[in-house]
Amino acid sequence: MESGLSSLLSVSIDFETSHLVFPTIIHWILAVLFAIILVTKVIPFLAAVKRGERTLPIVGESMDGFRFFGTLALIIAYFYLMAVVGNMFPYTGYGFLFVSMPFVFLMALMYLHEWTKKAVVIVLINAIIAPSLVWFVLAKLFRITLP
């Protein structure tokens, strides 16, 4: 009996495939946990949604679609353009500097609820000064790599 148990527990790992041992175990654990959660949480939750007691996350909630998707779009454009402009002026950090300014300006305008003249001027000044300051301190003084 003793030897039966120890042979059951013994494992030998082939070095060639040792990179897959742990991920395989993790996949199984994930699958089992997901199945349990599906049965105990998700199905009751969906049933409650059907009865109208709960709402689905994200799709069923009210959200500020303009600001949310605007943020995503701005960030994607920001990251993309930063690399493009940065490649035009390599090792200067200008990509970061020149793309950050409009990004900070546009994002602040998007989040600003009342566009008074004073508020927009503050946003504009901030959008020019803040990236310049960060660029100067990090890229020039500290010599940190920027796009």
Partner: protein
């Protein structure tokens, strides 16, 4: 032992103080946390040396945890999750016109909590490191398993907590099974076209900055970035003069709460509000004059804030002695330390005695700076609560980019990692998964794999995890205890919920 003193200079103390100030400001702005403060200021540390970098980071950490008291007292909004119980008594006091007095009570309690936990850290971390130095792969794997089970058992739902943690581990496995760690140098969990980007897997810091920085901004954007705060709500009040005599007879409370905070801070992945809530309820249960708590009693503030700040020292204990982060802020710190060439773990303290003393100096000094800054300049600091979010968020996004891009000296994919994990962090919080276990799983997953596979390769049997040493058995018992604890707690809360429905 005293030779480390020669390594300290004026810059060191200035940076620790600067860090504390910036941390306080971040903590004081609702929605910004100590984690974000550390993440945003990371690029600054790239250029600093080891000692100065540590000074800045620890200053940010202490300041960030402390700053949360300001909006908690003045606006009834916890600036960081851990100051939630400060609102219970702080806001009523502020409404009575005793805002300044309340804040000063908080400041004194905070510095006491911070210093007590620093003392515990100083005594306890080397002991734990000494003890764990003899651990083989088997025990190390079990320690990680214990850390993950503790996090999961303290999540609001254990199943979801474990699931989140395992997702974190899965994410950490993407990339190569590194030869330098004894692997075979093959990649897994990805398609061929991803190999140029993901050969080394996702970098830790962009992942953390994305999850804590970008996803917070997405969550706020979805809510429309409202700033309904107007400056007339911000009243400090002159009523009720602060005097140290208010602490008379509160010694037990302060010490008890500090130790609760330190202990909770040690538990991996808990952090946040658990410490202050526990300290607050203990004071309420044990104190004879607790009837005023919740209506503006200073003793509630003392319990909450001393526990809250004691988290700092506590969370650093497992970080420095075992390499396991105690909360999300120390998770970012672990990345920052790695960047400075520090490998935290059992060998860290014995092999880097000077660095260890320097860290302690920075920690204690940051607490003292925090005290003086907040005690005497609280009126001015209180104003930062009003900084509009439409100015802040673009700047935070910008700093996140700098932090991610510069970590590996200019890799654009790290910036995209920010976005990937920003969106992922947003989604997991939306569908109800837990961020803390996921992050800890991500940080520890890679090591867990190595320890697990190596144990099996050298012993060839699964039974080794139970029979290797008495310590292994003790660790299994602790794992079992944390699971049982969690089940009992959930049964209790379910029974209580049923009672509430019936009554």
């Amino acid at each position: 032992m005293m030779e480390f003193v020669s390594l300290l200079d004026v810059t060191f103390f200035l940076l620790a103080g600067f860090g504390a100030l910036v941390g306080i400001i971040f903590g004081a702005i609702p929605g910004m946390t100590a984690t974000m403060a550390v993440a945003v200021c990371l690029p600054l540390t790239y250029a600093l040396g080891l000692n100065n970098g540590l000074a800045l980071l620890l200053g940010l950490y202490v300041g960030g945890i402390s700053g949360g008291m300001v909006p908690a007292v003045l606006l009834n909004i916890p600036g960081t999750p851990s100051s939630i119980t400060t609102t219970f008594d702080g806001y009523p006091m502020a409404q009575k016109g005793e805002g300044e007095k309340a804040l000063r009570v908080c400041v004194v309690a905070s510095v006491i909590g911070g210093l007590i936990s620093a003392a515990v850290l100083f005594l306890f971390a080397p002991m734990l490191a000494d003890f764990s130095i003899k651990f083989s792969y088997v025990e190390k794997f079990l320690i990680i398993l214990l850390a993950l089970s503790v996090i999961a058992s303290l999540s609001s739902n254990m199943l979801v907590g474990i699931f989140s943690g395992v997702i974190g581990i899965w994410l950490s496995l993407v990339g190569v099974y590194s030869i330098s760690d004894g692997g075979n140098g093959k990649t897994r969990l990805m398609a061929d076209f991803m190999e140029p980007y993901l050969y080394e897997g996702f970098s830790l810091l962009p992942v953390l900055i994305g999850i804590f920085g970008i996803s917070t901004i997405l969550l706020e954007a979805e809510k429309g970035v409202k700033s309904e705060l107007t400056s007339d709500r911000l009243k400090l009040g002159k009523g009720g003069v602060f005097a140290f005599s208010i602490f008379k007879g509160r010694f037990t409370n302060l010490v008890r709460s500090s130790f609760i905070g330190t202990f909770v801070g040690m538990l991996p992945g808990v952090g946040g509000s658990a410490a202050s809530v526990l300290a607050y309820t203990q004071e309420k249960n044990l104190s004879r004059d607790s009837s005023e708590m919740g209506k503006g009693a200073p003793q509630g503030l003392m319990a909450s804030e001393s526990a809250n700040n004691a988290l700092t020292g506590g969370a650093l204990i497992p970080l420095l002695s075992l390499g396991i982060p105690g909360d999300s802020t120390t998770a970012v710190l672990i990345g920052a330390f790695t960047l400075q060439g520090i490998q935290v773990g059992p060998l860290f303290i014995p092999e880097n005695a000077n660095t260890w003393y320097i860290m302690m100096t920075a920690l204690v000094f940051a607490n003292i700076v925090m005290f003086f800054l907040m005690f005497f300049a609280i009126k001015h600091i209180a104003k930062v609560v009003m900084v509009p979010k439409h100015i802040l968020y673009p700047l935070i996004t910008m700093m996140c980019v700098v932090g991610a891009y510069a970590i590996n000296y200019g890799i654009m994919f790290d910036v995209w990692t920010l976005l990937i994990f920003g969106v992922l962090g947003y989604l997991i919080q939306k569908i109800g998964l837990e961020v803390a276990p996921l992050i800890i799983g991500f940080i520890l997953g890679g090591q867990a794999e190595i320890y697990f596979v190596k144990s099996l390769e050298s012993f060839g049997t699964l039974s080794i995890f139970f029979t290797k040493s008495p310590i292994a058995v003790v660790l299994w018992l602790l794992i079992l205890a944390s699971v049982v604890f969690s089940i009992v707690m959930s049964l209790k809360s379910r029974a209580k919920g049923r009672q509430d429905v019936l009554s």
